[in-house]
Structures are given as C-alpha cells and as structure tokens.
Symmetry: C2
Subunit: 194 residues, 2 copies
C-alpha cells in the first residue's frame, strides 16, 4: 500500500489498513468543476485511494451476494420441481382415494351399471381436477390438420372440397398442459375431394 504510506491517509471504510494516517479532506470538497482551483496532488492521492478502496469493497460485497444468490437459486430449483409435482399429486388424492374405494368395495356392486356409474363419476372428478391444474385435451374434429399438435394416422377422400385438409376423426385424444404439448392427437385426415 505504497500510495498511502507517503500521503498518510486513513481508509475510512476499513480502519485496519492505515492506522497511523490522517483523515483525508472530504472528496466532494476536493473535486472542483471546470474553472475552479486545481486539486493538490497529495489530496488527489488521498481521494483516489478512498474511491478505489470503496469500489473494491463494493465489488467484493456484490460478488459475494451474487454467489450466494446463484447457490440459493440452484437449490431452490430442485426444491421447486418437487414442490410443483407434490402440489399436483396433493390435489389428486381425493380422486385416487375414490379409485381405491372402487377397488376395495366395487366387487359388491349390485350391477354392472352401478359400478360403471361409480367409475364415470371418479373419471369426471379426475378430469375436473386436472383441467383446473392446466390440462387441456386436443380433440380437433373438423379443424384444419395442424402437424404441430396432430399426428395423421390415415387419410380418406374429402366429401366436399371445403373439407380437404381437415381432421375427419380422432383416434386418440391429444393433451396440452399450459401450452406444452404432452401428446399429439392421433387423427384421420381428409385428403383431396373424392
């Protein structure tokens, strides 16, 4: 720290660096604008040393904060992934319980119609909960074939020219979750008019 040894300044941000020095005059008072008197060289050294040391300190603090933030983010990402899935499963527990009840008592149903009705209700509850979470089905009958969300399994001649290139039938429903395609709809497409 040679610069400070011959100007004898105090580092006001870190008292341990220059214990024997004098406090420099306030940097603001020493920095004249345009036509004002020129700053004495010794006082410039003192001011610059303070400015440099303050910046070094600010830089090191920021680097440490950034590093902590980065580590915390990494950890939080892993936790967030698990929490997102836990939240979704947590919302499906009632429906899974319903299904388990059908397993445990379903064989005692009075009739096929009764058991079937119970299955229908359970299925409806599942879909209601999943749609609330963000699931959408892709059932594109009659709309123009879109290769980004439909998969053509077969093709038949279109009954009218207007129907050419649209979806004739859905073999398997597709699914999208909050804009992410989970599975394309598998469809039959109308080709040229037959």
């Amino acid at each position: 720290m040679t610069a400070s040894q011959h100007v004898g300044m105090n580092d006001d941000m870190d008292g341990s660096s220059f214990p024997e020095g004098e406090m420099p005059p306030s940097p603001a008072a020493e920095a004249p604008a345009g036509g004002l008197p020129v700053e004495p060289t010794d006082s410039a050294v003192a001011r610059l040393t303070t400015e440099r040391d303050e910046l070094k300190d600010k830089y090191l603090r920021l680097a440490a904060e950034y590093d902590n933030f980065r580590k915390r983010s990494q950890k939080e990402r892993a936790e967030l992934f698990d929490r997102a899935q836990a939240e979704l499963i947590g919302n499906l527990l009632d429906e899974l319980d319903d299904l388990d009840r059908l397993v445990q008592g379903g064989e005692k149903s009075a009739s096929v119609a009764d058991l079937h009705q119970a299955v229908v209700l359970t299925d409806k509850k599942f879909w209601k909960e999943l749609e609330k979470a963000g699931l959408e089905s892709v059932e594109p009958v009659g709309v123009p074939f879109d290769p980004t969300v439909h998969e053509a399994i077969s093709q038949i001649p279109a009954p009218t020219a207007a129907q050419a290139g649209t979806v004739a039938m859905v073999f398997q429903i597709g699914y999208r979750f909050k804009g992410l395609l989970l599975r394309p709809a598998r469809v039959q497409v109308y080709g040229e008019q037959g």
Copy 2:
C-alpha cells in the same frame, strides 16, 4: 475528472476520457514492495486513477450480469414449475386413457367381477406410475405414533404394555411425496394398557 487534468494521464480502459494525456507508466512497475523506493506522487495519482476506473468498470459489469441472472432465474422458475407438473401428467396419460376406456365401454362388461377386475388393474397402474414419480403411502399399523405424519382420530386401551403409544388401526392412508407430507395418515392409537 480533475485528478487526471493536472497529471495528464490516459485512461487505458476508456480512450475517450483523456485524449490529450500521456500514458502513465505501468502500475505494476510503480508499486514497489516493502523497502523499495517510494512512488512519485504524480505517478501514484495516475496508477490510482487507473485502478479506480478499472474497479468501477468491473463493478458495473458484475452488477449488470447479476441483474440479468436474477431476471432469467425468475422466468426459469415459472417455467420449471409448469414443466414439473407437465412431466408428471405426461406420465399418467396412459392410466387416464385406461380410465376413460372404462367410462366408454365399461357398461358393456359381462359381469360386475369383470368390470371390477378392470378397475383394479387401472388403479394398480396409477399407483405404480405415482410411486415411480416419488409418492409413498403412510400406513403405520404397529409403529409408534408420530404426530408429524400421523393424525390421531381415536384412542383405545393397549392389549399389552409394549403396544402403548403405537398405531392400532389406519382409517385413512397418508401420503408423502419425496419427503414432503401431502396428507397425514388418520389413525387410531393405543393408549395405556387396558
């Protein structure tokens, strides 16, 4: 920038600041250790100005990088949450299809036993997939009552002293997902020996 005006230095990090100045001598050569000759004041001003300006630049770059990282993290967190849930639902589509098939064709089952068997298989597939994702059931019959994962609904006298304080019966299974408790098991607890 008064300090540079009277020492006539060049800012080697930003050429536009001091176009008329001379280059300062290398800062390294001007910073003697321990017993070496004292640095001239003018050259100290030049060296300190360079050091200060370099630090200011480093600080600003780091602050910008940190800011970008923070914004990107925020955006990635939201995406990660959705992707985690999408992944889980994506893995359950086969089982949801099975359930839908029972809804669509189940009423034509030959017998209650047949339809029940189909429900049992669908339920098993659901649980297999959910356990693969990280779901565990909490079915604590015979283990010591643990208020962090069990909820006591009723209490009966223990048949033996050793059974006091253990779980007698589970009314409703509890669930844990990767260590996160989704629902405590609702249980009957053995109290003092009866």
